[in-house]
Amino acid sequence: MRSCLKWDGKMRIINLAIANIKTGKSAVFSLFVLIFIAALLLNIGTTVMSKMSTFYEDKVEELHDAHVSIVMKSANYKQPYGDFLKSYSGVKETETEQMILLPTATIRFDKSDFSIRTALLNADAERTVAPLKLIEESASDKGEGIYIPYGLKVRNGYQLGDNFTLTYQNKKYSYRVTGFFESTLMGTSKLAMLKFYLPDAAYRQLSEELGPAADGTLISAIFTDSEQSGALLSDYNNQFPQSNEAVDPSFWGADMQTAESSSALIVNIVAMILVAFAAMIVLMSLTVIKFRISYSIDDGMVNIGVLKAVGYTSLQIHTSIVLQFMLIAVAASVTGAAVSYAVMPAFGGVISSLAGLLWTGDAHMGTDLASVLIVTLLVLVVALLSSMRIHKLSPVAALRGGIMTHNFRRNLLPLDKAKGGLQFVLACKTMLANSRQNLMIGSIIVAITFASVFSVVLYYNIAEDKTAFFQMLGAETPNVGIQVEPGKDSEQLLMQIQQMTGVEKANILDYITTTIDGQLVNTDFSDDYGKLENKSVYEGRYPQYDNEIVVTGGLARLLGKNIGDTIKVGVGGASHPFLITGLNQSFNAGRNGASLTMAGVHHLIPDHKGMSINVYLEGVNKSDFIRDVEAEYGSMIQTITDVDESLESGTRVYISAVFAVMVVILAITVLVVVLILYLVIKMTILKRKRELGILKATGYTTFQLMTQIALSFVPIVIAGVIVGGVLGSLYTNSVLELLLSDAGISNVQFIIHVPLIVTLCIAIVVLVYLVSMLVSRRIKRITAYGLITE
C-alpha cells in the first residue's frame, strides 16, 4: 500500500515522488508504455544498425572467408594473377583452388528457375581459406549429397534431404541436399555467383563428364585489415586489362564490401525506419510528459503551496516532480531494452534471409545502455524545463491556486448564430479554448498519420504495385530475358525477335565493368534507352551520343562531378572521356553505376556486343513465346528466363520485411492514439470537472457530454490527419530518398495511392472518435452533485 508520509519536513523526496506516481497509476502506466515502446524501437534499431556495420566483417572473420574472390576459367588463368594477389599490400593469406565453373546453370528457386553463375567445389579437398564448415548436416546421407549455401534454406526453402537439381547445357544433374554452409561472397544470388560443395567422388564424376571446358580456378585473398580489400579488384583490372568480364565472360570477382552493401541496405532501411519512428515516439512521450507536468503543477498548485509553506525548498519540490518522471523513464526504458532481447530473433530471421548468413543475436550492452541513457536524459531535460516555473511560484500564490489571468476573448461561435448542432458548437467552443493542448494533439496526430501514410505507401509500392519500386531499384522489368550464346550475333537475333508476333519491344541491355577514377563501376549499355520501362535517370537524360554517359548520383558525388562535366572511363588498357548527361540510380550496381550508349562502349572495347536481350511482350502467352523462341533460335541462345517470375520470388523477402514494418507502425499508431487520448481526455475531464458538473446539472446527459468531448477532438484530429496525410503524400518520397541516399538511391517516385491514404486517414479519425467516446465514459462518474459538494 501507500507509504505513510511524514510531515516533519524531513520526508525524503523520493517518497513524495513515489506517492505522486501512485496517485496517478493509469497515467503513469500509459507514459510507461510510450517510453517503453520508444526505448524498445530505439534499442532494436540501433542494435541492428550497429551490428550490421560489423556483421560482414565479423562473419568473414568467423568463417575465415575470403575478403576478395576471383573466379575464371582455368584456361584463362595465368600465374601472375595469383602472384598479384599474393603480393598485394595488406594481403595476409591467399589460396588458389581448382573447381568446376558453370557460367550459367539453372537452379530451381521457389517456383521459378533462376540462371546463375555456379561454382562447384570438392568438399573433401584441403583448403585454408573459407574451410567448409557446415551449420546443418544430414546425419544419414553424410558425404553423399551436395552441400548448398544457407541462403537457399532461409530464402528459398530448401531443406535437408530435398532434391537439388542443376541444369547446365540442357542436362540435369540431381543431388540430395545433405548440408548447409555459410559464405559471405558466394552464398546468395546477389553477387551473381553461387558456390556448392560436392563430395570427392561426385565431384570427379561431374568434372569428367563436363570436360576441361568447365574447369575453373578460384583465387581467394584474406586481408589483415578488411578496409584495404576494396581497392584490390580495380587495381587488378588495371594491372591485367585482359582479365576482366568484358574480355572473358567467365570472369567473376567480388569483395566483401560489395557483398555488404548489397544486403545490408534493406536491413538498414528497416532499422532506420525503426529508429526514426522511435525518435518520433520519444518526442511524443516528451510532449506528453511536458503536458502532464504542466497539468500536475496546475492541479497540485495548492499542494505545492502547502509544501512550500511547510518549508520545502523549490529545489526539493522540483526534484520530486522530476524524479517521478525519471523513475518512470528509467523503469520503462530498462524494460524496453530487456524486451528487445525477446524481439531481436524475429529481426535476426529477416537479416538471415536477406544476407543468407546466420544471425546470432548476442548481448548488446552498449546499445542497451545508450538507448536507456538517451531516453532518460531527454525525459530529464523536458521534466526539468517544464517544471521550472515552480521556482517562480511564491507559496501564497500557490496556495491561492496560482494566479489565473482570464482571457478576454471574443465570443467565438455565439450559440444563437452558429450553424450546426448544439453538441458540435459546444465541442468547437471547448476546442477553441484549449489551444495548447490542441497543438500537442494536432502535432502528434500529424506525426502519427505521417508515419502511417509512410508505411502504407511503402507497403503498397513494394507489395501491391511494384512499378515504382523497381524503378527505384533501377531494375528493368522485361517479361523475358534472353542470354545470347557467346560468339553469336546478338544484334541479328534482336532484329528477328522484334519481328515476332506479340513482341511489343526488345532491346539489348548488358553490362561491363569499367573503372572510373580508380572506382570499379558496373556500366550498363543498351542499343536504345528509349525502350526502357523504368527510367532510372532522375536528373538530366540518358546518353544519346557516343561521347555521353550517365552515372549514379552516388558516384557523381564521390567524384565531385555533375552533369556537364567530363569523366574518363577505362576498360582494361583503353580509356575514353565521356560527358555526363544525367544522374541515375541503381540498386543492383549500388553506388558505382554508369550507363553508356552502344557506340560509347565501342570507344572502349571495339566491336563489343551486348549479349543480353530484354523482350517486352504484349498480348501473347509468355510460355508459348518462350517455346517458340527456343524452337526457332535455340542454337543462338544460351538461356532464356521468365523475368516476371524471378523478380516475383526475388522481392518476396522485401515484401515480408516491409510488411512487418508496416504492421509494427500501424499497431503502434493505434496504441499511441489510444494512450494519448486516454491521457488527454482523462486530464481534460479532471480539469473541466466543474464545467461538466454544471452542464450535467442543467440537464445534459452523459452521452451528450461524451459526444461533446469526442467531438472537441475531432476537428483538430481531422486537421492533423489532413496535414499528416498531405505531408505523408508529399514527403514520403523525400524521406525515403534521405533514408536511401547511402545506398545510392537519390530519387524515389513511389506511387501515392490516394484512395488507400484517404481510407487510412478516415480510419484514424474514426479510431480517434471511438477511443474518445470510450475514454470519456468516465464522465459517468462525475455527478452534478459531486460538483456542489466539492
Binding site: 478576454f408 444563437d416 442543467t698 440537464g699 455527478t783
Partner: protein, 253 residues
C-alpha cells in the same frame, strides 16, 4: 386548493466515507405545493443542500421515494434524471456556476437549446428574460468573469428559467452577494414566483427567508419545524418578520 407538485416518502440520504455511514436525511415525508416559495433553513450540516439536490433530481436518494407530479423520479437512471432536470427544473447556485468560457447569452442558450432546437425562439426568450432580470444588452456578450456578483447571479437565474421549469431550486442564491445585489436577485425570484413557478430555496439569510411563504426547518436530517408564513408583500412585512423570528428562536436558530 393547491396541487402537490413534489412529494417525498421516507426520503433518506446517507453518505459513507471510509466505512462510516452518515445519515444526512432521515425518513423525510415532505409535500411541496404548486406555486409555493418554500424556504429550507437549518444550521450548517443539517442537510439543507442535500435535501435540495435530492428533491431536484440532481442526486439520488439512498432510500425512499420522490414523486414529481405523480411520477416517481427516485427510480430514474442518471440520463433519465438529466432529461427530467432539463425539462422541469431550474437551478441557481450560491457559487453561480456559470460556464467561464461562454458569454452570458450562450450560458443561457446552452441550457435552452437542450430542450428546443429552435435557435431564434430560444434566443428571443433568453434575451427577453435577460432584459426582464435587468441585464441590458451590453452585458449579453460578456463573459462571467467580467460581471459583478449580482449580474452573474441574475444571469444564472435566466439560465434557470430559460426552459420555463415548473420548479426552480436555489441553493443560497444570495450567499455570495452584497445586500444590494442580493435584493435585486430576490426581487427577480419573487417575480418569478408570482408568475406561478414553484421555488425551493435553501438559505441562511433572514431577508431571503422572508420572501418565502413556507419555511421548513431542518435539524440533523429531520424536519423539525414547518411554518406557514403567508405570501410576501413588500409593504406589510413586519408581522411576517416577527412570526419568522419567533419560529426561528423556537427552533433554536
Amino acid at each position: 386548493m393547491q396541487d402537490t407538485i413534489l412529494r417525498t416518502e421516507k426520503l433518506c440520504k446517507t453518505f459513507s466515507t471510509g466505512g462510516i455511514q452518515q445519515h444526512v436525511l432521515k425518513n423525510l415525508d415532505i409535500s411541496l405545493m404548486e406555486g409555493d416559495f418554500t424556504i429550507i433553513m437549518g444550521s450548517s450540516g443539517s442537510g439543507k443542500s442535500t435535501l435540495l439536490y435530492a428533491l431536484s433530481g440532481m442526486d439520488k436518494p439512498s432510500l425512499g421515494e420522490i414523486h414529481f407530479e405523480g411520477e416517481n423520479i427516485s427510480k430514474l437512471n442518471n440520463d433519465q434524471l438529466a432529461i427530467f432536470r432539463r425539462n422541469n427544473c431550474g437551478f441557481v447556485f450560491q457559487q453561480i456556476h456559470l460556464l467561464d468560457n461562454m458569454s452570458v447569452l450562450d450560458n443561457a442558450l446552452a441550457s435552452g437549446l437542450l430542450v428546443s432546437k429552435n435557435k431564434q425562439a430560444v434566443a428571443a426568450k433568453a434575451k427577453q428574460l435577460l432584459a426582464q432580470v435587468g441585464l441590458n444588452e451590453t452585458l449579453w456578450g460578456k463573459f462571467p468573469s467580467q460581471l459583478s456578483g449580482g449580474e452573474a447571479q441574475r444571469a444564472g437565474i435566466v439560465r434557470a428559467l430559460i426552459n420555463s421549469p415548473k420548479m426552480v431550486f436555489a441553493d443560497e442564491p444570495t450567499g455570495a452577494l452584497n445586500s444590494a445585489s442580493s435584493d435585486s436577485v430576490l426581487d427577480v425570484m419573487t417575480e418569478v414566483n408570482r408568475n406561478g413557478q414553484s421555488i425551493v430555496t435553501v438559505t441562511h439569510d433572514i431577508t431571503t427567508a422572508l420572501r418565502g411563504n413556507r419555511i421548513l426547518y431542518l435539524r440533523d436530517g429531520i424536519i423539525c419545524g414547518d411554518l406557514d408564513l403567508g405570501a410576501f408583500h413588500a409593504d406589510h412585512n413586519l408581522a411576517r418578520h416577527e412570526k419568522l423570528n419567533a419560529f426561528l428562536s423556537e427552533m433554536g436558530w
